[in-house]
Amino acid sequence: MSDAALVFGRLFPRIARLSVAVSPSLIRWTLRLVTLLLFVAATAVGVNVGMNAPEIAPTSVVHDDRVASPDP
C-alpha cells in the first residue's frame, strides 16, 4: 500500500470518530449537496472548456482544400 494510504490508515480512527455522531438525515442532505455541487462544477468546467475550444480544426486545411499543408 502507498505511504499516503498508510498515513490515512493511521489517522483513520480519529477521522472516523466524527462519523458516529452525525445524524443520518444530516448525512443524506450533505451527500445531496455534494452531488449538486459536483454537477455545478462539472457544468462550469464543461461550458468553459467548450467556450475555449479551438474554432478551426488543425486538420481542416487538408480536409477542405485537399492539399498538403502544415498545421496552423
Partner: protein
Amino acid sequence: MVVLVYLGAALAVLQGFVGSGLPIQFGASLVSHITGMAAGYGAATMLILMSRAPWLERDVGAHRLARWHAWAGPLVIMLTVVHAIAAVVAWAGATSSDFVGASMGVLNVPGLLTASVGTVILVLIGFSSVRALRRRISYERWHFLHLLTYLAVGLGFAHQLAGPDLAGRRWLQIAWALLYTYAFALVLRWRVFQPLFQLWRHRLRVEQVRQEAPNVMSVLMSGQHLDELRAEPGQFFRWRFLTRETWRSAYPFSLSAPPTRNLLRITIKARGAGTRRLFAIPRGTLVFAEGPYGALTRRRRRRPRVLLIAGGVGITPMRTLFEEIDLPGKDVTLVYRASKEQDLVLKRELDEIAERSGARVVYLVGPSSDAKNDMSAHALNRIVGDLSDHDVYLCGSPRLASRVRDSLMLGGFPRHQLHEERFSF
C-alpha cells in the same frame, strides 16, 4: 433511456456526415468523420453506463449493464481504430503521401499524439478482454488494465473537441464538453466519492473469516449504521480489502446473509491467486465497499411463485433471497446445482431456512450428464409444477447460466420473468 442513447448516437453520426462537408463525398474521409463521432459518443456513453450510478444499477441492473458493456465496448474500440486508419488514408490521399508518411503527418497534428496513445491503450484493453486471452491473465491485472480506460478516454478528449466535426460550432463543442464532464462527474461521485464516504461513515472491518467448504470461505464484516446502505438480499458490493497484498483489486461478491444494522457477510470461492489471498485477511482489516449494486432483488418479482436457481458459489445471493423473499414458503423453490456434495456451500443454513419457512430446496449433485441433474426448462417445470407462474432468479457459472437461460427461452418462458446476475469478467 435506451431511446435516448440511440437518439444521441444518431445525432453524433449525423454530425459526422455534416462535418465531412457538403456535398457528401463517399470515401475514407467520410468514414473517418462518422466513426470518429460515433466512437467519441460511444466512449462517453460507456463511462456513464459503468459509473455505478444507483439509478442505473437499480433500474437497469448490473447484469444488463455488463452485457451492454460487453457488446458496446469492443464496438467503440473498433470504431476508434477504423477512425484512425481512415483518417490516415484520407490524409495520405490529400497529401499524396504513403501510409507511413501520412501517419507521421497525422501524429504531428496538435492533440493527435495523445489521442493515438489513448487508442493504443484502448486496443490493449480490447485484447485483454478477448476470451482466449482473458483466461490467461489474472482478474487483478485485467481490472487494472480496465481502469486505464479513463486515461485513454481523457487522452482523446482534446482531439475530439478540436476535430473538424465540432470545431467552430460553439454550441456543439459546449454540449460535447458537458457530455464528458457529466460522465466523469458521475464516475467521480459514485465510483470514488461514495466508497470513500462509506468507508468513513460505516467503518467496515473484517470481523471473522470462516471456512465453509474446500476453497470456500465466508467473511463477516462489522460496521456502523449499515442499515443506511439500504442493501437488499440478492445485491452485491465491490469489495476492496485494505491490506498491503489486496488493496489494489475490487472484487464483486454478493451478500450471503441478510444484512443487519452492524453486520454484513459474503462468501467467497478461491478462483485464482488474488481471491486465495483473501483467505488470509486478518481480523480488523478495513474494507472499502462500493455498492450495493444489482437488481436481483425481491422487487423484481411479478408472479405469485418464485424459483431460485443457483450453481456452485452462485448460491450466495440466492441464500439471502431464499430467506427474505416475501412469499409463503410453499411458493418458493430453490434448485441448487453442484458437482460434488462437498461443493454445496451453506447447505446447513439452507436446510434450516427450508424447515422454518416450509420452502423447498432441491439439490442436484453429480455430473451434468446424469439425467437427474437435468436443468432444462422441461425438467424445471417438472420440479416446480407450472413454471410460467414463477419468477426465475438465476445465478451460477456462465456455462450453467447460459444453458438454463437458453433452455427457458427456447421453451417460451417470458424473458421479463427471468432475473439473473453474472460475475464472470
